[in-house]
Symmetry: C2
Subunit: 606 residues, 2 copies
C-alpha cells in the first residue's frame, strides 16, 4: 500500500480561504495577532505531526487495545509519544486565551487542526479533545483557586481531562443520574456513585487526570435538590489530589472498576469509574450549584462540532484510501472493449466505482465543510463586531448543531461503507485500513447525544426557538446563496434543485411548528425523518457555497490542476443536488402527512 494523504490540503485551503474567508477574522481584536501565514504554519505543523506521530500507530492501537491488570492501565507507548508531541507543539492551548498561555486561535482553525489529527488517528485524538473540553470548563467556571491550579497543566498536557456524565442506569437520560455530592465543610465535596463509558478515565499518559463529573448535591429538607436535570451540578474530581505544595499528592477516591471493550475507537481507553467506594472521593464544585448542565452547554456546541468533524474525517480518510486504491488496482475491462486479450484497466475507469467515489467525496468534503462552517459561526457568535451579527451567528449555530453532529456521523458511515466496497474482498480484511474506519465511525451516531436525541432537539426545540427565528434565519441564509449563484450559469440546475427543496422544507416546517401541544409526541415520532431532511437541505447549501466559490474561480486562465479541482467541486455539488436533495420531497410528504406508522405500532405486534 502506498502512503495516502491524511487530508487534501488543497480542499482545506479552499474552505478556509474561498468559502469561509477565515483570514477576515484577523481584523477582530481577539485574533489580531494572527494572519493567514500564521494559520498556515499551524496547519502545516498539525499535518506533519498527524502524519508522523498519529497515523503510524492507528492500526496498532486498534489491535493492541488498552489493558488493565487491576492496578495500571497499559497503552502502547506510541500513544504517549504522539500526545507528548501534540502538547509540546502547543495544540492543547490553541483555543485558550493568550493571558492563560493560549494561542487564541479562531475556532475554525482549531477545528481544522483537529480534523487532521482525527483523520490520522481518531482514538489518540480523543485524549486532547477531551482535555481541551475540560480545560474550557475549568477556564470558564472553576473557582479562581482551582482555575489557577489546574488550567496551566491542562493546557500543557501534564494533566488530561475527562467528561464524566453517563451512568449505567441512565444512558441518555441525565435526569436519572444518581451520583451524589455532599459538602465536606471545608469548601470541598465528597462524591459517591459510578459512571460508565468514560473515555480517557484512567491511564498513565499524563501526570494526573481531572474528571468533570455531573452529580447531584444531597439536598436537605430546607434546601431540597431539584429533581431531574435541574438538580445537576458540575464537579472537578482529580485522580491525584493536590499535595498542598503545588504538586501531586495522594490518590483520590475515584477508582477504575473496569474497561469497556468496544467495536472500534479501541485506542481510546473507555472506563467504568467508581467514586467514593474504597476511600472518600474529593471534588470541587465548578460553577454554581444545580448549574451543571448550563456549564456543559457552554462547550456543547464545540463538542458536537468535534464529533461531527471526527465522523466526517473518518469518512474523508476512507475516501482518500479508496481513491488511491481505485487508481492503482487493475481489474476488468470497459464494456466497449471487453476482449480478454486487452490489459485490464484501473477500476476507477468503471463508472460504478466513480459513483462510489463521488458519493464519498460529497459526504466527506461536505461533512468537513459543514463542520468548519459551524466553527466559523462559533467565531462569529463570539467575536463578530456587531451585536446583530453575533446574534445571527448564534441563532444559525443553534439550529445547525443537531445537523452538524448527526449528518456527518450518518453519512460518514455511508462513505466508509463505500470505501470498503471499492476495495472488494481486500476491504474486508484487516490488512487494509478501511474496515477500521467503519468500526471507529460507528460510535459517532451514539455519543455526545444519540442522533435520535439530536432529532428531537431539532424538531422539538430548535425550530420553535424564539418563535422560529433560527429557522427563518437559516432559510434566509440559504436563499442568499441561491441568489448569489444566479450569476453563474454553470450552477443553474443546482440552485433550482436546492431552491425547490428549500421551499418544500419551509412549508413542511411551518406545518410542524403549528402542531398543537397534544399532538407533539406523535409529530416527534418523525423527528429523525425531519433531521435527515433538513440535513440534506443544509448540506445542499454547503455544497452550493462550494460550487459558487469554484464557479467564481474556474476560468480558462486557471492552471490545469486548479481547473480540475474546481471541476471536481462542481461535479460533487451536481451529484449531491441530483441524488440527495430531491429526496426531501418524499421526506416532506411523510412529515406533512404526520405518518404515524411507527407511533401507532404496539409492543405486542413486534
Amino acid at each position: 500500500m502506498t502512503e495516502v494523504r491524511i487530508i487534501s490540503r488543497r480542499d482545506l485551503s479552499f474552505l478556509i480561504d474561498d468559502v469561509l474567508s477565515v483570514a477576515a477574522l484577523t481584523s477582530r481584536p481577539r485574533f489580531a495577532e494572527h494572519n493567514r501565514a500564521t494559520f498556515e504554519a499551524v496547519l502545516d505543523t498539525a499535518e506533519r505531526l498527524a502524519a508522523s506521530e498519529f497515523a503510524p500507530h492507528n492500526r496498532r492501537s486498534d489491535e493492541a487495545e488498552p489493558s488493565w491488570d487491576g492496578r495500571v492501565v497499559t497503552i502502547i507507548p506510541a500513544v504517549k509519544a504522539a500526545l507528548d508531541a501534540f502538547s509540546a507543539a502547543g495544540f492543547l492551548a490553541m483555543r485558550a486565551n493568550a493571558a492563560d498561555g493560549g494561542a487564541q486561535l479562531p475556532e475554525t482553525i482549531v477545528q481544522a487542526v483537529m480534523a487532521m489529527f482525527m483523520a490520522a488517528n481518531i482514538a489518540t485524538s480523543a485524549y486532547p479533545m477531551l482535555t481541551q473540553a475540560a480545560a474550557n470548563l475549568v477556564a470558564n467556571f472553576a473557582a479562581p483557586e482551582q482555575r489557577a491550579f489546574w488550567l496551566k497543566p491542562m493546557l500543557e498536557g501534564r494533566v488530561f481531562g475527562t467528561m464524566a456524565l453517563t451512568e449505567p442506569q441512565a444512558g441518555s437520560s441525565l435526569a436519572d443520574l444518581r451520583t451524589s455530592a455532599e459538602p465536606a465543610g471545608d469548601g470541598t465535596w465528597r462524591l459517591t456513585g459510578s459512571k460508565i463509558f468514560i473515555s480517557g478515565g484512567d491511564h498513565e499518559l499524563s501526570d494526573n487526570i481531572v474528571h468533570m463529573v455531573l452529580a447531584k448535591i444531597k439536598g436537605t429538607p430546607e434546601e431540597p435538590t431539584p429533581a431531574g436535570v435541574k438538580g445537576i451540578s458540575l464537579f472537578l474530581v482529580p485522580k491525584y489530589l493536590p499535595d498542598g505544595k503545588g504538586g501531586r499528592g495522594a490518590r483520590n477516591g475515584v477508582t477504575l472498576t473496569g474497561l469497556i471493550h468496544k467495536m472500534g475507537y479501541r485506542g481510546t481507553v473507555s472506563t467504568m469509574l467508581s467514586f467514593g467506594e474504597e476511600r472518600p472521593c474529593v471534588g470541587w464544585l465548578v460553577g454554581r450549584p444545580h448549574q451543571g448542565l448550563a456549564c456543559m452547554f457552554h462547550m456543547m456546541n464545540e463538542a458536537r462540532i468535534a464529533v461531527g468533524l471526527g465522523a466526517a474525517m473518518l469518512g474523508y480518510a476512507g475516501y482518500l484510501h479508496s481513491l488511491d486504491y481505485a487508481r492503482t488496482r487493475q481489474q476488468g475491462r470497459p464494456l466497449a472493449a471487453k476482449e480478454p486479450e486487452r490489459p485490464p484497466i484501473s477500476i476507477i475507469a468503471h463508472a460504478d466505482v466513480r459513483r462510489m467515489l463521488l458519493a464519498q467525496k460529497a459526504y466527506a468534503e461536505g461533512g468537513l465543510a459543514l463542520c468548519l462552517s459551524a466553527a466559523r459561526l462559533v467565531d462569529d457568535a463570539k467575536t463578530a463586531p456587531l451585536d446583530e451579527e453575533r446574534r445571527r451567528a448564534a441563532l444559525l449555530l443553534g439550529i445547525l448543531i443537531p445537523i452538524v453532529k448527526a449528518w456527518p456521523s450518518d453519512y460518514g458511515i455511508a462513505a466508509n461503507q463505500l470505501a470498503i466496497q471499492i476495495h472488494g474482498g481486500y476491504g474486508y480484511t484487516r490488512d487494509y485500513p478501511v474496515e477500521q474506519l467503519l468500526r471507529d465511525n460507528r460510535l459517532n451516531p451514539i455519543h455526545e447525544g444519540t442522533n435520535g436525541i439530536q432529532a428531537i432537539d431539532l424538531l422539538g426545540r430548535k425550530i420553535r426557538m424564539e418563535g422560529g427565528r433560527a429557522f427563518a434565519t437559516l432559510v434566509a441564509a440559504i436563499r442568499e446563496t441561491i441568489a448569489a449563484a444566479a450569476n453563474h450559469s454553470a450552477l443553474g440546475e443546482d440552485r433550482a434543485a436546492l431552491g425547490r427543496a428549500l421551499d418544500r422544507a419551509a412549508r413542511t416546517t411551518a406545518g410542524l411548528t403549528g402542531v398543537p401541544e397534544a399532538d407533539r409526541e406523535r409529530a416527534l415520532a418523525n423527528a429523525t425523518v425531519y433531521l435527515d431532511m433538513l440535513g440534506r437541505i443544509v448540506v445542499g447549501w454547503i455544497w452550493l457555497r462550494q460550487g459558487l466559490a469554484a464557479a467564481m474561480r474556474l476560468d480558462a486562465s486557471a492552471p490545469p490542476a486548479e481547473r480540475d479541482f474546481y471541476c471536481g467541486k462542481l461535479q460533487a455539488c451536481r451529484w449531491y443536488m441530483r441524488n440527495e436533495v430531491p429526496l426531501v420531497e418524499h421526506q416532506c410528504a411523510l412529515l406533512d402527512a404526520g405518518d404515524a406508522t411507527a407511533f401507532e405500532m404496539r409492543d405486542a405486534w413486534f
Copy 2:
C-alpha cells in the same frame, strides 16, 4: 442478557404455510415422501441444534479466530462439535437425492433450515454451506468414478468442500484467472497457481477437503484455450489424495500459504492457497473442458439465495436482540409525563425506538420472505408439473436473483445499524452481540458477486433476457398480488402505493431496455440505482403478499396473540409502503434522465 430467540418460528410458519404454501410441494413426485409434519420435524431439529450447538460459540469463535502455526490450522473445538452434530443430523444431505442417501427436501425447507443456523452463527454455518454447494457440483458434473468416491463422504460430513474461484490479481474478473491445468496423461490433471479468500480452505474439521477449483487448461497450437471466461474449466482438487483402497492417502500439492484476517465472519477460516508449488497438485476435471462457469452457474442461484438469506438472518438476529433490549431497558419518560419523579419507561415506549424496530422488522422479515420465495421458485423451476410453470419460475428466479443476493445484504446491514443504535453505548461494546452482527454482515455485499456486479447483471442482462420476458413475468406476478389485495380494504393504501411505483418502474425499464448499444456503458453507470429501485418494488411485493396473507386471517375470532402477529405484519407492510416504496419515484427520475454525473466524472477531478 436474557436468552434471545434465534428466529420467530411463528414468522417462519407464516411464510411456509400462509405465504408460500410449501406443503403443496408434497404432491410432486420428488417430495412425495414428505409432508408438513416431516418439514416441521426437520425445522424443530434445526432450531434445537442451532440454539444448542451453533449459537453458544458465536462470540467465542469471533474472538478466537482460526490460527495457523505454519503446519496446522487451529479452530476452537466448539466448531467441530457443532459441525459433527449438524452432519450427524443429516443436514448436509438434506438437498441430495434419496438415491445418494439424501433427504430430498425442497429447496424452500433447505433454506429455512440454513436460515436458523445462519442466524445462530453465520461463520460456523459457512462450512456446511460450502460443502453442500461443492457436493451439488460433484453430484451433477463429476465423472462417475469421482462421484462415487467423493459424494457420500461429503454428504456425511467426513469430507468438506470449498469454492476456489478468486485469485489475487483477478478479484471479480474471472476472465483474468491464471491458475492452469495440464493433463497428466492418466486422466488426471496437474494444477498450478494460487487462490485467495478461499473460505474453509484448510482446517482439521473433516478428514479431507475437496476444493472445486476454476482453472484454465493449458492450450496447444492445435487446441488453443479460449481467452477469458470461455476458457475456464472446473477441477476437483482434494487436500489428501485417495490411497487407491478407498481411503485417505498422501497430501496433495495444494498448500496453505496464509490466513486472511477479516473484519467479521472470523470463525470461517479464510485462506490463501497455492497449487503445485511444493509438489505436484493432482486434480480431476469436473464437467467438460471450458465448461467451468456453466457448472458454477448450475448452483449459483442457490448460492446467491444463501448469501442473501445469511444477510437477512444477521439482520433478523439483530432485530430480535434489539427488540429484547428495547423491552427490558428502562430509560426516559414520555413527553406528556416528563416529571423526573415518575419511574422511567421501557425504551420501546419511545416512538423513535419503535421506528427503528419497525424498520428492522421490515428489512429482516422482508429479507427472509424474499429469500424463501426465491427458494420456492427454485423448487418450482425444477419440479412444477407443467413445463410452462417451470419456465415461468425459472424466468422469475433469473430476474430476482441479483435482488435476492443484493437487497438483503444492503438492508440487513441497515437493520444491524439500527440494532446497535437501539442499544446506545452498550451496542458499541463487545459485551452485546449486535456489533458482531454488523461486522459479520459487511461481507455479504462483497462476496458471491459484489452488489455492483449484481446490478450490472440485472440491468445489463436480466431485464433484456428473452426480449424482456423475465421482467414482464415479474410485473405480471406483482399485478396479480395487487389485484388479489383489492378484496381487502385494509390493504387499499398499500396496493395503491405499490401499483404506482410499479407503473413508474415499468415505464423506466422500457426506456432502459431501448437504450442503443452505443449508450449502454453510460446507462450502466446507474445500474446500482436500478438494482436498488427494483429491489424496493420486489420487496414491496413480498410485503404485500405477507400483508394479504395476514389480512385474510385477521378476524375478530382469531386468538389475541394471532391478531397481534397479523397486525404486526400489516403494520410493517404499511411502513414499507410509506417509507421505502415511494423512493422509487426519485430513482426512476434519475434513471429516466440517464444521470451521467458519475459517468462523466474524471479521475483528475477527484
